[in-house]
Amino acid sequence: MSYFDILYFLVFVPIVVIVYNIFPKKIRPLILCIASLVFYLFYSKFLIVFLLLSILSIYLSGRWMSSLDKKKEMALEQAKKEEKKEIKEKVQKKKRWILLGTILFNVAFLFFFKYLGFFTRVTNQLLQVAHVDVCFKIIKCAAPIGISFYTLQAISYLVDVYHEKFVAEKKFFKVMLYLSFFPTIVEGPITRFQEVSSTIYEGVRVSYHNFCFGYQRILLGLFKKIVIADRLNIFVKSTFDNFSIYSGMTLACSAIFYTILLYMEFSGTMDVVIGTAEIFGIQLPENFRQPFFSKNISEFWSRWHITLGTWFKDYVFYPVSLSKPVKKITTFIKQKKGIRLSSLVMGAIALFAVWSLNGLWHGAGYHFLFFGYYHFTLILLGNIFEPTIAKICEKLKIDRKKKGYHAFQIVKTSILVFIGELFFRANTLHEGFGMMKKILTDFSWKDFGELFTIGLDIKDYFLLGISLLVILGISILREKKVSIREKIASKPIYLRWSIYYLLILAIIIFGAYGTGYVPVAPIYADF
């Protein structure tokens, strides 16, 4: 049962809503917890055991660390001034071991299910290069759904308890709900405990307002996925799987189409996810903020998959850049070459760690690592050359605040993103380079006709154009901070419902389903 199944939004969610509303306020979070476990069982069957083990480990370690903090506070009240430092250090050391042990326990599952195959393959390749006649068997097994997402959430919970940002939750089912909440378990957003705990345990009754607003958002998600992403799927699949028979022009379009498909699929899923949570009065963080209005790659990543970016910023970027070894290096550079270079080096080391992990997080494969390092290089170059670009613009009297310059930056950033996504989608790194080579050496406008022979005809292009214009319009309004839903809600009932019916009809009539179409599988669920 995916978020785009009729079973999900027309059966599962309404049943949960009814049961949820029947029970009193206090019991409602428990209902959500049970619904989440049922949902997970549908998806991952017996693999739910691994999710439960993770939840149990997080719960117990969290409680242990918080009880140590409590004991520490009591001991500090009675201790003399000179003893305080020792007490703090002793507790911190113990907590550090608990934290590390639990993180390792959880990451071990992630490694086993996601990376063992890849690293066995890499080891076999290295052994072959070294002429060692040993070949390890590659173990293949299905991973528990959402393992990459809930593991990151689990780590954030633990680290935050370790830093005493909050006291670990006492009720087991509440930790279970936080980590397994059915709308977020498959593809995120990666939430933080403090951010969702204010609404997720509230148990507010499903109101007419929340129900309508939630389903509006779900409808938008369905539109993005079924009308746009699924329509582009055959073209993208055919061209990426058999790139050698297509022209450079078709492949360039394929990279653009895949980027649109990915954005529509993932942001559409987020609309369904956030909309579902909204029905229950739960506020989830946004994962996208009009990424294709970004003026550089760094900004793009602060607008695309936002919760993953902020997770890496908080739990990798800052801890690495402010770690003792990095500080030693940068202090030395600062004394010799000044603060700008030392900050650049500090940032570069941390960014390298972030993008190595980011690439690997997306998947176990060389092309994913390349995808990570590609963005690392672009962001680093952006940081290094920013002052030079500013000087050049000043000399050439180019006003960087003008709309024309912004448009140029947006186009440049989009092209760089398309290239990155080409490697991201390519079946292997080798094929990614093969596609790039064809785009650069075999590009001709004469091959324009080929675009109409790969699962998309003129009607499809027309529909895609109109649909994307609708999405662009919504994005522009959002960028201007206009609340479209509030505006619709303020209209008379006949107009309001006409808009809803129009959207439903658009999905039913123009949706790319049935013969001739292959729906996009949940892309981020595989990560």
Binding site: H163, K165, S298, E299, S302, K313, D314, F317, Y318, P319, S321, L322, T330, K334, I339, R340, S342, S343, L344, M346, G347, A350, N383
Partner: protein, 75 residues
């Protein structure tokens, strides 16, 4: 506070640090500038800023940054 304002103005001359109250949320300070700022603050005020303190609420205005420095100095 004056010393802090001097550091901030040197790092980001275009921003009015006395008035601005959304330095992080408004993207006036990016991650790299925050790293430079932390490095400068640690040197100038003899404090250690732990990663757990690097949250927008502590860096959104010069006043908030100053409060953080004072708190860390007391600790």
């Amino acid at each position: 506070m004056e010393k802090l304002l001097e550091i901030l103005e040197e790092l980001q001359p275009d921003v009015d640090f006395e008035k601005c109250e959304n330095l992080v949320d408004g993207r006036y300070l990016d991650s790299l500038t925050i790293l430079s700022l932390i490095s400068e603050i640690e040197d100038a005020f003899d404090v250690q800023i732990p990663t757990v303190e690097i949250i927008p609420a502590n860096f959104n205005s010069a006043k908030k940054i100053w409060e953080l420095i004072e708190r860390l100095q007391e600790e």
